[in-house]
Subunit: 492 residues, 2 copies
């Protein structure tokens, strides 16, 4: 198993699959290796991992196959691409990447790194599609760093920066700049603390211990000497920044002249919670700087023109777009065509697709067979296939609630021993629905006794079906809702 | 009640509040009036509405107060702003609006419409904040119409356009253009059909009956002569376009050379479903044109520079931003400051805020009192306050499921009559959890019988509490989940 970099969308699944695939050796670079090990500590029931640290100059033998690496620019140190050598040419996987550039001209370092493909025969490329829909070149991280440097140096009052804990390169730079201009740094958010500890431990971040402060020191420092780094720029309910915004954070309260920088993008699906975050912060009078106003965030993925440049440098015979929704893969395939690939030299995959290069490297084919693939559901301690019936019940319970009927029936007479009990949750507000419940009890009693009349012995399954139908119909007529109706009919 | 225009976010709430506020007369323009009446038909239990059609030149007396109107540019005909005359100056409400303009220069019509404020004393302005975070001027609808005209005229194969049924001006134009270039129009989506019927009935859209076709005619026409207008550009599961995308639509199947235009924005919260829509359409080989590639959609709300222009034309003494999340209101307040308003001449409201202009128009104040305001929950037939307990139960049921225990106890001995029954939904996959259920039964039996030992008479509430605690603890230990545990303990 080869891992390109330490972001959670690339390492987070390891504990959920490693035991199912027989604990293969894992090859990756130093920081990634440590992040994988750190995460593994949360899964004490698993066996230790067999992790091998590699450097980008290394060559690994996997069976008869030689595997090499190359360094790529991303938003975390030690990101790399992977090269698998075959008799018919190299297979190249970029991993997540962007290019370091100045006004659309890649830097000398990028030129040098991508020069390794120049005199090689590249049989196949699989590359990052995340931002291929975006025109031009991505904002270079250097621009963001310059802006953040200036904000940290010149903001008059207290400064709170919300960002991803995985934006490690930027986080490191912000801490260094804070130290340089004499701001003390309070880190709020466990994952951010852990990640900063790791890079300090590795010597990637060299700052003085005294640059970091605890929450108890906040009040003793002038506002202009404080930088708070916080997780939760996505509006996650329990992350530091949201707790600060909704006034449930133990130590940090918003002051009127605080400046808050959201140094992040909005992960699709989080738009409403980020809006709530901004609303709550601005309601308390804080000034907010976000990426629509100034370049305080850059994505780690290449835009269209960078992707074009990468294709030209690697110049593969065959191409498969990776990393992104299907529509993005299609857009990436169009870029490959613009770079000279033919339709039959490109495969746009779906999860589980099996791609074969045939005829000694002359042909790429998507096979009819699919590799086993499905979503794995992590639900409490259970890790497994999605159980449709459980999910379907939850969906109904969430929208309609439940309605349990408990009736005790004299099996000799078929008559109810007492008025039936009803237990309902998530359906209607019971306190204001006594009439409804009373009518439901009458219907239950009547349905059961009509059904059992002359029936000997009582067929309880038949009774249950009848009472379920009658009650479900009644509830729908009265409320336009369809709770899960569960009858318990006991013969006693 | 004065209604500015016929979009659902402005008229949709009427049936839910009109009876609570005593059916006041409603004043609005023609199209809006018809749309309100059409919607009211879905609420047959309500009394007829008292709707008065007005034209923008009219003056209405409401008590002693004169109310006038002005026409505004939005994405639906008959949109208007409202002017309330007071002895101290006019109160102006813009409603939703943008400006018609060419390269940032508002048209002569806009100049003329806004000239009515020139020699008036404007005491107060409340204006649309939806897009004030966006720089410059909005894309003019004329640009979108030009692009859509060209797409309808030149697309070689079949053309499917997804848009909002409320984008009435654009819809009208697209039908007209289709007729002009000889494409037949199939309308898919009930709300879109209804809205097009209304504008044809009012004479706002004048096209031949034969321009519209039914689904049965699809196959008999050449692809290049077909335009399908469909709802569901937001990826709504049951709307026409999504059903087409996931192959559940009765009549329309995607063909490889179809062109699909998403002439819409993405409503916040719908990002993932729109992605799914694009993925499914592109997987079937359709070409997709959306607003990131070409101006095929324009918002109906003014950007920052348009808003600035509106402020300067109306030039109010006091200002209150309206329509938008709190953060947007703050941004709009900053625009008002840039136009010369002072901090104390602006009130940024929250829902329910009561604003008073005092001292004969010298002072604007937000009172401490709040008007009654809360979310109204429409849940089946029930319309009312959010019942926290019902919502909380649904949230738990959705994530953790439920676990009902049924035990029959001999009240004399305190011993179970038989092994307890368990009913569980949405918790774990029961078929693979027989061990868990068996252990739970043992714990239930033991807990009940330990509790009732020597207890005479049996305190059933006490027994229920004990068994709930024991079972909830056991289930959490085993599964890390906390379903709603409901004990039914019957003494028989």
């Amino acid at each position: 198993m080869f891992i390109t970099h330490g972001h959670l969308d690339h390492i987070g699944g390891i504990p959920y699959v490693i035991d199912r695939i027989g604990y293969p050796p894992i090859f990756t670079r130093r920081l990634t290796a440590i992040m994988i090990k750190k995460r593994q500590e949360e899964f004490p029931h698993l066996k230790p991992l067999d992790i091998h640290e590699v450097e980008k100059e290394d060559t690994i033998k996997a069976g008869n196959t030689r595997v090499r690496f190359f360094s790529v620019t991303h938003t975390i140190p030690d990101a790399m691409g992977i090269i698998i050598e075959t008799p018919y040419g190299d297979l190249v996987f970029t991993g997540d990447l962007k290019l370091d550039h100045v006004d659309g001209v890649p830097t000398a370092e990028e030129e040098k790194e991508f020069a390794i493909f120049k005199d090689r025969k590249i049989l196949f490329l699989a590359a990052d599609s995340t931002n291929v829909e975006k025109a031009g070149f991505s904002i270079p991280e250097s621009t963001v760093k310059k802006n953040m440097d200036e904000i940290i140096a010149t903001t008059p009052g207290r400064l709170i920066i919300g960002t991803f804990s995985s934006q490690l390169e930027r986080l490191m730079r912000m801490v260094e700049q804070a130290e340089k201009v004499g701001r003390k740094v309070l880190v709020e958010g466990r994952s951010m603390k852990v990640n900063l500890e790791i890079v300090r431990h590795l010597g990637l971040l060299k700052v003085n211990d005294k640059t970091f402060i605890g929450a108890e020191s906040l009040e003793s420092l002038p506002d202009s000497k404080v930088l708070i780094l916080a997780t939760g720029a996505q509006g996650d309910e329990f992350a530091a920044l949201m707790r600060i915004a909704v006034k449930t954070h133990k130590h940090v309260k918003i002051k009127k002249n605080d400046t808050i920088v959201l140094s992040s993008s909005i992960v699709p699906g989080n738009e409403r919670s980020v809006q709530k975050l901004k609303d709550n912060l601005s309601r308390q009078g804080a000034r907010i700087i976000h990426r629509d106003q100034m370049d305080v965030h850059a994505s780690g993925h290449a835009n269209r023109d960078e992707t074009f440049w990468i294709h030209q440098k690697i110049n593969p015979r065959f191409f498969m777009p990776l990393h992104g929704y299907h529509y993005m893969l299609r857009v990436h395939a169009d870029i490959a065509k613009a770079c000279g690939r033919q339709e039959n030299e490109i495969v746009v995959p779906d999860n589980g697709a099996v791609i074969e290069i045939q005829d000694e490297g002359q042909k790429i084919v998507r096979l009819k067979e699919m590799a086993p693939n499905s979503l794995r559901l992590v639900d409490g301690f259970a890790i497994g296939d999605m159980q449709e019936v459980v999910i379907r019940d939850r969906t109904v319970l969430a929208a309609e609630g439940m309605f349990v009927i408990i009736a005790t029936v004299n099996p000799k007479t078929g008559r109810l021993r007492k008025s039936p009990d009803i237990i309902s949750r998530g359906f209607v507000y019971l306190r204001e629905s006594q009439d409804l419940l009373q009518q439901a009890r009458i219907i239950i009693k009547k349905t059961i006794e009509d059904t059992t009349k002359g029936m000997q012995p009582v067929n309880f399954d038949y009774v249950k079906n009848n009472v379920t139908d009658a009650v479900a119909r009644f509830l729908f007529e009265k409320t336009n809702k369809r709770p899960i109706v569960i009858p318990v009919v006991l013969g006693v």
